[in-house]
Amino acid sequence: MPDLDFAGLAEEARLAFRPRFDEVVRRSRRRRWWLAGLATCAVALAGGGVAAGLAGGTASAPEETLTRRHALTAVSVGDVGHLYQLVQTCEAGRCRERFAVSGDRGARWTLREPPGRADPRTREILVAVNMTVVVVGREGGSTTHWVTTDAGRTWRAGAVENRPLTDRDRIAYVDGSRVVTVSMGLGRMGATPTPVPLHRARPFYQQGGTWGLFGYAEEGPVEGRELSIAWGAAGSRDWEVQPLPADAGLLDLASPDGVDVYALYGARDGALQMWVSRDGGREWARGALVPGGYAAGTLLATRDGTLWLSNPDGVLRSDDRGQTFTAAGFGSGVVTFDAAVDLYTASTSGPFPRVWVSVDGRSWAEAPR
């Protein structure tokens, strides 16, 4: 009987092998590239959203998926299939920032490389619309704005172009007296042709080409004066300025439609005072006085008319335009709200972050923790 030397076969075949890990890396990149292409085609065919989870990774770096994470920022929502968050992961004593993306409303998060240098720890998501996201990175005295149009797979430094703005432009940030925008899908940055008539302005509303900013109409030596709203449109040279009820104590502003405007102020003894306008801020009336001890809160006004108020005791809801509030039964501590065209989010950051989502603006569901 001949010798069935399996051990010799195994040993010789093993020794004949020449390791080529670069071949593995090359194949992996090609594979992710194909999967990303397939996902894009599937999204295009299905009208979007269906195959967002098909893409296994980036063309540039391996991805990991996780559920537990240490969130450095609140959730920014691009649309129902794209939630974003800057998170921190630690391995073998080394921690680093990652750009986390969820395609299933916060249940699982795919980690991608954030833009810029390894760990500046000063990144912030400024705006997210669909797969277009602008992140600011601050390090030392320099500030860089990074843009992605593929949900964080690739990034490029955003440079403000001299171009006409369109309805596809979203406010990314306000730089001094000019509003800097990013165009959805293209990621091109632009700026308003004329200065904003407010100092230290910040956006609080943008919908259907209408923009709402708030800031000080007059600059003072320490604090500004005449805290106001400025309404404008993409590319418009004209701004309509309306004063807010008070200069001091503003905590948050919200508007569902650019007509009803809600302003949340801190009041005495840590209570929260709601101010309501039915005409875009021309006239203001007092709404509910919400007792509390911390004078901290955020607002969300949903398109169906519900007003949500988050304070340290939880989330409250108002169905009568800010006149009365009742406990909503979710939320712990102050949550940060965000809104996209088809999804609302409420989230917390830190080592045990929580995310709640709402499609209709009336009922909320918490993502698995």
Partner: protein, 164 residues
Amino acid sequence: MDGEANLRAIYLASAGRLVAVLYALTGDYAEAEDAVHEAFARALSRPGRLRGVESPEAWLRTVAMNVARTRFRRRLLLDRIVHSGRLRPQSVPPISPDRVALADALQQLPRPVRECLVLRYVADLTVAEVAQAQQCTVDAVKSRLLRGRRALAARLDDKEESRA
């Protein structure tokens, strides 16, 4: 250590063994290398897949075997379509003729028998582990091993006799 560095360490430790197993299964050294690289590439594309796996090498071996099986079926189908025999020429393995003869003889065996022999004697799994991998009973594995060794011996005997 990140996912790629982890996988590189696993690759350096186990890729040679996996190629040996795949070579014994396919009889084609280039195909074996290809399947193993493909398995590692899939692991690198989705690092989360390997997390929580008790034995990464076992997982990679299963993926590589599945890759090889799928490719074999595809090649068989193409072969039938064009009626031209083997479409892809086998590569010349960089090992001695006796080992090549054994690997060739393995290819003459039915696939379940071949897989049992290779997993037991080349991958060095226990009979119970082979049974688990093959999703059959321990007795079935023992029976296949016995039949396989007999068939191999007969084939290699015939070869030696015809040479003489």
